[in-house]
């Protein structure tokens, strides 16, 4: 005989008063849920529509939804143990949708899933397996939150989380216990009522607590802005970024209410990790606090009571927060949006910031150096000028054209291209791509720089750009799109990896640790190419925080130009980590990372590993000119 799984004991024959009591409780619970939830829903719907939001193409949305929500991929991948525990709770909830529906129907005498029937027996058993996993998971999560207490969850214990965990525990155990009794047993009824009470207590708690993410975050993930750090274009003459509540779009408000307060953003934030005021989680909760008090139609400034301007301008735009967020919050458009609001209206006053803006209003580069110096460098290195016949335009950027170490990287990369016989040229005239002012929120200046550069490129008939700077690459490819059609652009790591077969290798025993630049990794998804280049010169070593979890050097978001940081320097924090790997060399792939790490290494004294760009590593392997 086939071994049947045990059947769930489902009480029957509810009396009229019992049914009435259930109906009343169900109505009270639903009403308490709706009262709060409709409030949130209204705040979202009252926010302005995002004119740049397009639902299509829908394929990527469905894909992200399946991968991030249904598979819980991000939740698990970035924090494996608690992530898996969360995933089991989530999957149990999914499995319980049918169980709960039938549970309520039973209370009204219209149950539709017979526990003794073929489907019912199998399904209930299936749900029971998830219930078991869920009980184990929720106990684990409870231990983590109340005993292990990782600092990302905040210093204050969340008793509501404890209550929710208890309710989930009761829901699952009452369900499991129902397999151990018979339907006629009075305890079956007690279990049913306990399950019901837990359920009806849980429901109104959802919109009143961070468990609102149960409902909102699947929607948030589905309705993302479409790509990483996508900064929406300003619309109309009165849009200056996020100035007041009236500037918050539906997507922004939805995201503010989706936050589950897990603190992954803060855990990976370079500012929060080095004692600065900025805490990305608090930025989102600040927006939520603002919305709760003032609502989306308020002219009250967004920066002030709930979020501070100082914190917003401490962001390096490394994007670790946005990358990590499991509920689909896009921090960068919000943080940069708040900066735009402050800069575009002139309310941000910062000596270093003004100096940078004025240097770019009047001059051509972020370093404020005369372009004649760039000309001299081109002449001294005998770099060919771009005349429209060459395949590549070698974009120097501010660092490559003016910074002494940046110039060394350009010179090394030019040697590699010469060796390969690639035809390339540099432009006579170039302006800053506008990366630092874009991230600092100066839309006027960014537009001027983007348009001027697009015109220069069009005049020179440039079709392909290669650059040593991931910031230039990102800005040219993505941010300039708002003002025209930029040429094809790639980072030199991609170029070097493509021609790896044609370049000499000298794999030494030397240990080389690779530092992922934020704008190459998280922004461009280029992780393998630079590693392949490093592996041609020595033994590749990974620092503890690497690839998509890489830790910023501190230069991004225009911060390289904003003077002294408060707290520990981000670059020092990172340099210590790189030194601790024991590697003899540090390989970088961004001139900004290079300059930040160089200063940090100098501060550590003698014996620090040598810092080189991947282009310099490659150039070292080339035969010395004339001796081949």
């Amino acid at each position: 005989m086939l071994l049947l799984p045990p059947a769930l004991a489902e009480p029957t024959n509810f009396s009229i008063p019992e049914k009435l009591l259930f109906v009343v409780l169900l109505l009270v619970s639903t009403a308490a849920f709706w009262r709060r939830f409709s409030l949130v829903l209204n705040k979202i719907l009252q926010s302005k529509k995002d004119p740049s939001f397009h639902l299509f193409p829908i394929g990527k949305r469905v894909q992200d939804f399946v991968w991030e929500v249904l598979c819980q991929a991000k939740v698990v991948r970035q924090r494996p143990l608690p992530g898996l525990a969360h995933a089991f709770v989530f999957w149990a909830f999914c499995a319980f949708a049918l169980v709960t529906l039938n549970h309520c129907a039973t209370g009204l005498g219209i149950g539709f899933l017979d526990p003794a029937g073929r489907f019912g027996r199998v399904y209930y058993f299936f749900a029971a397996l998830f219930a078991l996993a869920c009980v184990a998971s929720i106990l684990g999560l409870f231990v983590r939150r109340f005993i292990v207490r990782p600092k990302w969850l905040g210093a204050k214990l969340s008793y509501e989380s404890g209550l929710i965990a208890f309710l989930i525990f009761v829901l699952m155990t009452t369900y499991l216990a129902s397999f151990l009794v018979t339907p006629t047993d009075p305890s079956a009824r007690v279990l049913w009522w306990l399950h019901t009470l837990a359920l009806l207590t849980f429901l109104p708690l959802i919109p009143h607590t961070k468990h609102l993410h149960l409902i909102l975050s699947p929607v948030t993930v589905f309705l993302s802005r479409g790509s990483f750090s996508r900064i929406p274009p300003l619309s109309g003459d009165e849009d200056f970024g996020l100035v007041s509540g009236t500037d918050l779009t539906r997507v922004a408000t939805l995201q503010a209410y989706s936050c589950v307060e897990c603190g992954r953003c803060t855990e990976h934030c370079p500012a929060a990790n080095t004692g600065k005021l900025l805490n990305p989680k608090e930025i989102i909760l600040g927006l939520r606090g603002y919305l709760n008090e003032y609502g989306p139609a308020s002219p009250e400034p967004l920066l002030g009571q709930y979020n501070s301007q100082q914190a917003v301008f401490q962001c390096t735009t490394c994007g670790a927060c946005e990358f990590q967020c499991p509920v689909g919050i896009e921090h960068l458009p919000l943080l940069i949006g708040l900066r735009r609001g402050a800069v575009n209206t002139g309310s941000w006053e910062d000596d270093h910031g003004s100096k940078l803006f004025l240097a770019l209003e009047r001059g051509s580069n972020a370093l404020g150096i005369s372009p004649a110096e760039r000309d001299k460098f081109i002449e001294k290195q005998a770099l060919p000028l771009f005349d429209g016949t060459q395949e590549y335009c070698l974009w120097l950027g501010c660092m490559g054209g003016y910074d002494p170490k940046g110039r060394e990287i350009v010179a090394a990369f030019a040697r590699v291209m010469d060796y390969l016989g690639t035809s390339y040229g540099v432009l006579r005239k170039e302006k800053c791509t506008g990366d630092p002012v874009r991230r600092l929120g100066n839309d006027l200046l960014f537009q001027q720089l983007a348009e001027a550069n697009l015109e220069i490129l069009a005049q020179n008939k440039v079709e392909k750009i290669v650059s040593i700077c991931p910031h230039c690459v990102r800005t040219i490819q993505e941010d300039w799109k708002e003002y025209g059609t930029p040429p094809e652009v790639e980072h030199h790591s991609e170029f070097l990896a493509r021609f790896a077969d044609k370049l000499p290798k000298q794999v030494s025993e030397e240990r080389i640790v690779y530092h992922d630049p934020c704008y190459l990794g998280r922004y461009r998804n280029v992780y393998e190419q630079p590693r392949a280049v490093v592996a041609h010169s020595g033994q590749l070593v990974e620092p503890p925080r690497s690839a998509e979890r890489s830790f910023c050097c501190g230069a991004g978001g225009g911060l390289a130009f904003l003077g002294e940081e408060s707290g520990q320097r981000i670059s020092h924090n990172r340099a210590e980590e790189l030194i601790a790997t024991g590697a003899q060399k540090i390989a970088a792939a961004c001139p900004f990372c290079n300059t930040m790490l160089r200063d940090a290494l100098a501060a550590t004294g003698d014996g620090a590993p040598q810092l080189l760009d991947i282009a310099q590593l490659t150039a070292r392997n080339l035969p010395i000119a004339g001796s081949s």
């Binding site: 300003l234 003459d237 009165e238 200056f240 800069v343 575009n344 209206t345 002139g346 000596d351 910031g353 003004s354 803006f357 004025l358 209003e361 009047r362 001059g363 051509s364 005369s370 372009p371 004649a372 100066n442 839309d443 006027l444 200046l445």
Partner: protein, 256 residues
């Protein structure tokens, strides 16, 4: 307080200039232009005075149509309205000719204070503001770093040589020429540019101002600085060579 700021548009700072075929002016095609820096400081001083005292800031600029971009920049930074004196022969006018145009445009406004940069970055005469005061019959002070409004008039801080400052009081109306560096310049904002669209710029043809434009100074020739390298090897004993070197440094190079 009604303040007029006279502003000049000059060639962008890092431009590689070319001399025109006649050899008397630069070839103006294909360059970008910007606000003369001391004038930018004059504007900043005016805006700060208005922010503290209230009133109106009017910018006046003379030159061809391209000057409009610099006027818009001034409006975007906060000036209330502008007067553009249209003239295509701006390069041919000397300081007196320019000051006459400015004086004629400013006079009907009857301002309490007229500010301008102490000199231009292109010609560097340092005369226009001073002549303007003379033409308007107003008191003036030059090389001003800071302006303070007192009950009776103005108290200004002048920059002297070797780090010395002089404080001078003078009545209003007055003309001041402003030195760079007294304030921190503000950056142009998107909101400023958008607001500037609705601000008034009055166009006045130079001829309408009915001033004599015949220059009293004529440009003979302009030329780029010539690069020259001359190396001399001093011979003789070390003592003789040193003596010769000191001689040359003193009387030829004049650095000792």
């Amino acid at each position: 307080m009604k303040i007029v700021v006279a502003i000049k548009q000059v060639l962008e700072r890092d431009a590689q200039v070319r001399i025109d075929t006649a050899g008397t002016w630069i070839d103006e095609s294909g360059y970008q232009y910007e606000m003369n820096e001391p004038d930018a400081y004059a504007l900043e001083e005016a805006l700060q005075l208005r922010e503290a005292q209230g009133g109106e800031v009017i910018v006046v600029s003379a030159g061809p149509e391209r000057v409009g971009t610099t006027i818009r920049e001034a409006l975007a930074k906060g000036a209330d309205r502008a007067i553009h004196i249209l003239c295509d022969d701006f390069g041919a006018r000397d300081a007196l000719g320019v000051a006459r145009l400015l004086a004629a445009a400013i006079q009907p406004e009857n301002p309490a204070l007229i500010l301008t940069g102490l000199q231009s970055e292109d010609l560097g005469y340092g005369q226009t503001g001073v002549i303007l005061a003379e033409l308007l019959g107003l008191p003036h002070a030059s090389l001003i770093l800071h302006v303070e409004i007192t009950g009776t008039g103005l108290k200004v801080k002048r920059e002297l040589e070797e780090g010395w400052f002089q404080f001078v009081e003078l009545p209003t109306p007055a003309v001041l020429t402003i030195q760079s560096g007294g304030n921190k310049l503000r950056y142009a904002t998107l909101m400023g540019i958008k607001r500037a669209k609705s601000k008034e710029t009055r166009l006045v043809a130079a001829a309408e101002l009915a001033t004599d434009s015949i220059p009293v100074v004529r440009l003979e020739q302009v030329s780029l600085p010539r690069k020259q390298k001359s190396t001399q090897i001093l011979t003789g004993t070390p003592q003789e060579a040193t003596a010769a070197l000191v001689e040359k440094l003193k009387f030829e190079v004049r650095v000792l």
